[in-house]
């Protein structure tokens, strides 16, 4: 799920060629699943943390668990999000990284 898309084939070449595969990657290479709400998620969540937190915490959280996490970011951590933002972000996280079998969730 993480460095994917066009990057994947390049990656394989490097790995075959070297005993210790080297990838120039950092948090900007984290690619979240495409879908409505992705831009809001990227903008909101990356204010304070890298987006690997989302991938790492999947796919075991149901919608209520994701909503709890997002609300904590607003009420405790001070994320400046509107109710609409929260709804869109939770829907995206549940749809792509949620517990139910979602097409884009890893494995």
């Amino acid at each position: 799920m993480l460095p994917e898309g066009g990057f994947g084939s390049l990656l394989l070449c490097v790995i075959v060629a070297l005993p210790t595969p080297v990838i120039a990657a950092d948090e900007t290479d984290i690619v979240l699943a495409e879908g409505p709400g992705r831009e809001q998620v990227q903008a909101a969540c990356s204010m304070c943390h890298s987006l690997d937190y989302i991938v790492m915490n999947s796919p075991f959280q149901d919608k209520a668990a994701w909503e709890k996490s997002v609300r904590k970011m607003v009420t405790v951590m001070g994320a400046p999000l509107t109710a609409g933002d929260v709804a869109a972000i939770v829907a995206y996280l549940d749809g792509h990284y949620g517990k139910q079998p979602a097409a884009d969730a890893p494995h």
Binding site: M1, D26, C48, I54, F60
Partner: protein, 400 residues
């Protein structure tokens, strides 16, 4: 270009077998959330070896199992855990302030002043994140999805917290010591601030440490000074320490009152009465635990030849009394041989010889017992934040 990485996780799209050259780093993967496996990469922070990256920002990096073969964990392989941005402190400008409503005379020290005024003290102690092994919880719970490597063992050197506090003078009502570091929240969230009960703050082994393993603390591990609170989980080991405040009432910051809590009584008394509520307690002492190190689980051992398994065991400071190993699913247990005792807060190496009689898979279970009589859990003790995973390990091997 100094950042060397390779994928640690197994992602079918990228060819799992090619990406997993080293089983030593993969021991926990079978039990981690799938997303935690694919999002992990080996990555080197400046001054560090490649470690298992759990998150880039804040940096949360896990020590690979192979480094635990050494009794002391090398500084450049020591795990990294931050809640917020990592401060870059200039030693010449660094000050430690000691104040608070229950401190008689507020003080401020430079680094040379602390070294000159107070006697140096050393302790060997394990530093273990409260959430070490959270990723192995079933069912999974949110948080940094650590495998086995959010811990390390080191010689810590500095001055006693007790000496510094007593220099400022403690008022009769002194109840807790609050510790703050140079890190700060990004937005309006709560600063990462912790507190200790007076008895733990005044313990002769609780330090303001400047060195680990004979070197200055790496920036990633709290340069220039951090609290060392032997026996207690690392949440209390405040990094880049700048301020101590002696309080006459319980500190009610988020990271004490709300976070780092366990259900009351589930793991025994907290030892931190002023922070207990009816429902829950702060996480405090490390639970007795052990880990198979070498050969790493998954390895193949020779049939009819003697192999030696190396492991480590530790607890919250009573010391390890014995480690037992079972090769028959827990029906019978034999004693492992304990290695050198580096002190009651250090982990203790153990070794166990075995000679597989036939080819095939087998499981080695290891169970440590502490001098206080406590032993590892047979089954997971669920708790909301995923703390204190000390279930008896079942390490799978092959014989061939």
């Amino acid at each position: 270009m100094d950042r060397r990485r390779f994928l640690l996780g197994s992602s079918s799209a990228l060819g799992a077998s090619l990406l997993l050259p080293n089983r030593l780093i993969a021991a926990a993967n079978a039990d981690l959330p799938a997303g935690a496996v694919v999002s992990a990469v080996m990555d080197a922070l400046p001054g560090k070896r490649p470690l298992i990256k759990r998150s880039f920002r804040p940096p949360n990096y896990e020590t690979p199992l192979a480094f635990y073969r050494q009794a002391l964990t090398p500084n450049d392989a020591f795990y990294v855990r931050w809640h917020m941005g990592v401060p870059d402190v200039a030693l010449a400008e660094w000050r430690l302030r000691v104040a608070g409503p229950a401190a008689i005379t507020p003080r401020e020290f430079t680094h040379p002043e602390l070294l000159r005024k107070f006697k140096a003290h050393e302790v060997v102690a394990i530093n273990q994140c409260s959430g070490n092994r959270r990723g192995l919880f079933t069912p999974h719970v949110p948080g940094v999805q650590w495998g086995y490597g959010a811990m390390g063992n080191a010689v810590w050197r500095g001055v006693r917290l007790k000496d510094v506090l007593e220099d400022a003078g403690l008022a009769a009502g002194a109840l807790e010591v609050k510790a703050d570091g140079a890190d700060a929240p990004t937005l309006t969230g709560p600063d990462f601030v912790k507190s200790l009960p007076m008895w733990k703050a005044l313990d002769a082994d609780t330090l303001i440490a400047f060195e680990m393993n004979g070197e200055p603390l790496p920036r990633w591990n709290g340069f220039p000074a951090r609290l060392v609170v032997p026996g207690w989980t690392a949440t209390y080991w405040t990094k880049a320490l700048t301020e101590l405040s002696v309080l006459d009432r319980p500190f009610d910051g988020f990271w004490m009152k709300t976070a780092y809590r366990v259900p009351r009584g589930l793991f025994g008394a907290s030892g931190f009465d002023s922070q207990d509520t009816e429902q829950n307690s702060p996480i405090t002492a490390i639970r007795v635990n052990s880990l198979v190190i070498d050969p790493a689980p998954g390895a193949t051992l020779p049939v009819n030849r003697r192999s030696e398994v190396l492991g480590i065991a530790w607890d919250g400071g009573s010391g390890i009394s014995n480690v037992e190993v079972s090769l028959d699913g827990g029906a019978s247990w034999r004693e492992a041989r304990l290695g050198r005792d580096l002190g009651r807060y250090s982990w203790r190496q153990w070794r166990f010889s075995l000679k597989p009689a036939q080819a095939g898979a087998f499981t080695l279970m290891a169970r440590a017992r502490a001098r206080d009589g406590s032993t590892q859990a047979d089954t997971l003790i669920p708790n909301p934040a995923g703390y204190h995973h000390n279930v008896v390990q079942e390490a799978d091997f092959h014989a061939a």
